[in-house]
């Protein structure tokens, strides 16, 4: 594939943001990811799909530094990435959401999203406690960014509600909000639509497309709902048993025999 391409709906997708080269990840004797290579390009929505246990979440965890692969290289913006801690990677502009919601249940929506700005805050704790001068200014600046996220996700009405009291679909939205508050260049979404009803899925799809369109954020997502994946993503990686079995546009993937076999099962007899 050439350096950049144009999607059917007219967006120009740029060069490689992230490139995974021959990644292998082992837990003791279990090989979670086997020699996988793929790339994510500037401005695209990239889906990673596969049956349960295929290694999708492990792949996201490798990208954001939770796991360190035994073999392979990760190239980020044209540079080979050294092993890093997750917070260092977050500082490089990679944010994520989790498969099982990981919010602070006793804190309000606003405070939860505010934590997404933590990495961008520079004043020290003592100053923040006095809340004068730079600390106050900094909080105001960050609050402004957070309020824009709240406006964007249309969750003004739950700004002050403790997150634990919210329905599941809204909690997912708050989690997306926290990731967006970090103003990431690359956003990783781990099953953003799991457990949602049709209407909530439609809303979430709309938000994902809008994030991509309005802020130009590159998005990598794991999702089980094939309809959603085929509708919103530009390119799809298919994994099965830790291996890559397909990679391409939704149409190419849909017609790939290995993918069909993995999803529908094949006769081993």
């Amino acid at each position: 594939m050439s350096e950049s391409y144009v999607t059917p709906d007219g967006r120009t997708i740029g060069g490689k943001v992230l490139e995974m080269r021959n990644i292998t990840l082992r837990f003791g004797g279990v090989v979670a990811i086997k020699d996988i290579s793929f790339d994510i390009r500037e401005g695209e929505i990239r889906a990673i799909i596969g049956p349960n246990g295929a290694g999708k979440s492990s792949m996201l965890n490798v990208i954001n530094g939770f796991y360190h692969p035994q073999d392979g290289e990760i190239w980020f913006h044209g540079e080979k990435r050294k092993p890093m801690k997750p917070y260092q990677i977050a500082k490089q502009g990679i944010a994520r959401t989790f498969q099982n919601i990981a919010l602070f249940k006793g804190m309000s929506t606003l405070d939860n999203i505010m934590t997404g700005r933590f990495n961008q805050m520079k004043t020290n704790m003592a100053l923040q406690m006095i809340w004068k001068g730079p600390a106050e200014r900094e909080e105001q600046e960050n609050r402004e960014i957070v309020e824009k996220v709240i406006d964007f996700l249309e969750i003004q009405a739950i700004r002050k509600t403790p997150v634990g009291a919210l329905p599941y679909g809204l909690q997912k939205r708050v989690e997306l909000g926290r990731a967006l508050a970090a103003q990431p260049r690359l956003l990783l979404l781990d099953e953003p639509m799991a457990g949602m009803n049709v209407e909530e899925k439609e809303d979430m799809s709309r938000f994902i497309l809008d994030v991509n369109d309005e802020f130009g954020t590159t998005i990598a997502l794991i999702e089980h709902d094939m309809g959603v994946v085929m509708d919103i993503s530009d390119r799809v990686v298919v994994m099965d048993y830790g291996k890559k079995i397909g990679d391409g546009s939704p149409d190419e993937v849909r017609n790939n025999q290995a993918v069909i076999d993995a999803y529908l099962g094949v006769d081993h007899g």
């Binding site: 007219g10 606003l110 709240i150 406006d151 249309e154 003004q156 009405a157 809008d210």
Partner: protein
């Protein structure tokens, strides 16, 4: 014929002139507020005048002509109010539409008024317009406010609001004289706004209101309630509704008070509390819902709080309304009320966001006396008014100190009333509309040559107080078999005041006796069932429960007692009833979208049940088709109990 000439003060007979005066007189007084990004943003009158001028000149740059119609679609936002003011400034006529209207309803109105310009709030509204644009050759320009998601649209006829304003500002030199020239031509007879009636019967009609209509009504009503530049109001009711136009544009421009717009429809309650308006309007349903919430939360409060609440509320009920009306109250009672105010009423009003309300109105439908008294006993000056789009809202309203739950007040300043022989109410005032747009026939049907307008409501003027009482829609009022008056809504409203009853439909036109269908209020009845350990599996089962029937029966018997007291309507007592096995629903055509029961359709659809009510049977089996939210259809079967109710014997007065 009442002369309409020179009703308005010189120099204040159009909105551009009012705006210019406000920008000078109250240059630094907030005119509009809106909560955005968690903060209340505000604009002073001088800023508003600048924004409006910039947009008006932008309209000119895009080629808006004098007399054009500009459709405005969206929720209450300052920008959209300015879009209306700017249309007037440029010699055009604003036409606000209901933002939740579907594309088809919108298409009818846009086609009917032939709007060339459309100002839409956001992508959702633009999409609706684009969907129907093929059938609307007149539409030339669409202006949108919220840019989100709009980047990829084809922009030959689409413009962002701020770009239109920028264009207007850039062309100031060239366009300002044109604007001034157009404004000079406007006067008190120019059309101020065109509002479409919601159309419960037939297609919506475009009500043309002149500057005289709106400004005279705004002026009279503002003086009636002593509104001034220090007041504030929360604008949350649909912009297409005449009331919002009068409050948020008419009275606001006349008196200079501040209009605050909520952050989003869902945050209205929180925003209400933050703004604490001094002037507030809400339909009865809003006050009912609020009271229900309060009561549910009190049930969950600690025993001490609960006891305090009930004790002081009982006291408030006793003396609160009298205090509000300025009637004599003993010193001890006053003192007790002050303590109650400190402990209960004050904090409660603050929570509800009604602490500062000096003038509150409810209208649109009858409000339950209990609910009405509750708010008044807290010291909230809630009053009723009776109005119509065709009257620029005000027909009657209650003056301070003469407020009652069962009347709608005395004629508003400048309004004359008369009651026709069949009981229909007619009025004449400076606010009476000019005409229905492109519909001379309907205009002639509604307004006669002398300017009297038929309201379509039946009512009478109470001799003791001079207040108007509305009985029912004139076309629903019928005759019982014995010649007595049949007013179903009168009885239904009394029934609906019981929290357990959501809807009631009373039959009896041309019959010996009246009967009723009852819809239970699932929230209230389910709550009762939970507290009393009544098990049920479905709505249908709960509705058919014996104890529920017993409760409803006792409610109806109480209503019968109160109906029997009315000499004209004592024949309308309910003799038999049943509790319906399904909720009446707009999706099934049984109600309008604004949740008003379609009596005739209900009667036809459930004619087997009506027949059963007028037979001797005690049970009836039926099958009903229902439409689910996604449009699929199904059927439910049920066997319903029919119950007799005790009625109060009526002694017929011997005709003289």
């Amino acid at each position: 014929m009442v002369s309409k000439r020179n009703i308005l003060p010189e120099g204040l007979d159009t909105f551009p002139k009012l705006l210019a005066r406000n920008a000078k007189q109250w240059a630094n007084v907030p005119a509009y507020r809106e909560k955005e990004f968690g903060i209340w943003q505000s604009w002073t009158w001088s800023q508003v005048a600048e924004e409006v001028d910039a947009l008006a000149m932008g309209y000119l740059a895009l080629g808006l002509n004098e007399g054009d119609y500009v459709a405005i679609i969206g929720r209450n936002r300052p920008y959209l109010y300015w879009a209306m003011l700017a249309a007037q400034a440029a010699g055009a006529i604003p036409v606000p539409l209901y933002q939740d209207a579907n594309a088809e309803e919108m298409a009818y109105v846009l086609e009917h008024c032939g709007a060339r310009f459309i100002v839409a709030e956001d992508q959702e509204q633009v999409d609706k317009v684009l969907e129907i644009q093929d059938g609307l050759p007149a539409v030339e320009q669409i202006i949108y406010y919220d840019k989100r998601g709009m980047r990829k649209y084809e922009h030959t006829h689409l413009n962002a609001y701020e770009h239109v304003q920028a264009e207007g500002r850039a062309g100031n030199q060239r366009l300002a004289p044109v604007l001034a020239e157009r404004q000079a031509k406007l006067g008190e007879d120019s059309t101020c706004v065109m509002l479409y009636t919601s159309g419960t019967t037939g297609k919506p009609k475009g009500v043309v209101l002149s500057n005289t209509n709106i400004i005279a009504s705004a002026k009279a009503s503002a003086e009636f309630d002593h509104l001034n530049a220090g007041d504030s109001v929360l604008a949350y009711l649909p912009m297409a509704w005449v009331g919002d136009f009068i409050f948020s544009i008419g009275q606001s421009c006349w008196t200079g008070f501040c209009v605050a717009c909520p952050e989003s429809p869902e945050t209205m309650q929180a925003d209400l509390r933050e703004i604490g308006p001094s002037y507030f309007f809400a339909p009865p349903r809003f006050f009912e819902g609020l009271l229900t919430n309060v009561m549910i939360r009190i049930e969950d409060a600690s025993p001490l709080k609960k006891r305090l609440f009930h004790k002081f509320m009982a006291h408030a009920k006793k003396v609160g309304p009298d205090l509000l009306d300025g009637k004599p109250v003993s010193f001890i009672d006053r003192l007790k009320y002050r303590i109650g105010d400190f402990l209960i009423y004050g904090p409660l009003k603050n929570t509800l966001g009604l602490s500062k309300v000096r003038v509150g109105y409810t209208a649109g439908e009858a409000i339950g006396p209990e609910i009405f008294e509750f708010y008044r006993s807290l010291g909230i000056n809630l009053k009723q008014l009776y109005g119509q789009t065709e009257a620029s809202v005000f027909i009657t309203q209650q003056p301070d100190g003469q407020v009652r739950a069962d009347t709608v007040g005395v004629p508003s300043p400048g309004v004359e009333l008369k009651i026709a022989d069949n009981g229909e109410v007619f009025y004449r005032s400076p606010g009476v509309f000019v005409e229905y747009y492109k519909n001379a026939e309907s205009t002639a049907d509604t307004k006669d040559a002398e300017g009297w307008v038929a309201t379509g409501d039946a009512g009478f003027i109470e001799e003791s107080s001079g207040h108007l009482r509305i009985i029912d829609r004139a076309k629903d009022v019928g005759k019982m078999a014995d010649g007595g008056m049949f007013a179903p809504k009168f009885v239904e409203n009394k029934l609906k005041f019981f929290p357990n009853i959501l809807e009631a439909v009373v039959f009896g036109d041309g019959r010996e006796t009246c009967t009723a269908f009852i819809n239970i209020d699932l929230n209230a009845v389910a709550n009762w069932a939970e507290r009393n350990n009544v098990a049920y599996g479905s709505y249908q089962e709960l509705a058919g429960h014996k104890q529920v029937y017993d409760t409803i029966q006792s409610h109806i018997e109480e209503v019968n007692k109160s109906v029997a007291l009315d000499p004209m309507l004592s024949g309308c007592q309910v003799h038999r009833f049943l509790v319906l096995h399904k909720e009446l629903d707009p999706d099934d055509g049984e109600m309008t979208r604004t949740r008003k029961v379609r009596r005739k359709i209900v009667g036809e659809k459930f004619n087997d049940l009506v027949d059963a009510l007028y037979s001797d049977a005690t049970k009836v089996s039926t099958e009903t088709e229902v439409t689910y939210e996604d449009g699929r259809k199904g059927a439910i079967k049920a066997t319903l109990e029919l119950r007799d109710v005790a009625v109060v014997p009526v002694v017929k007065e011997v005709a003289a």
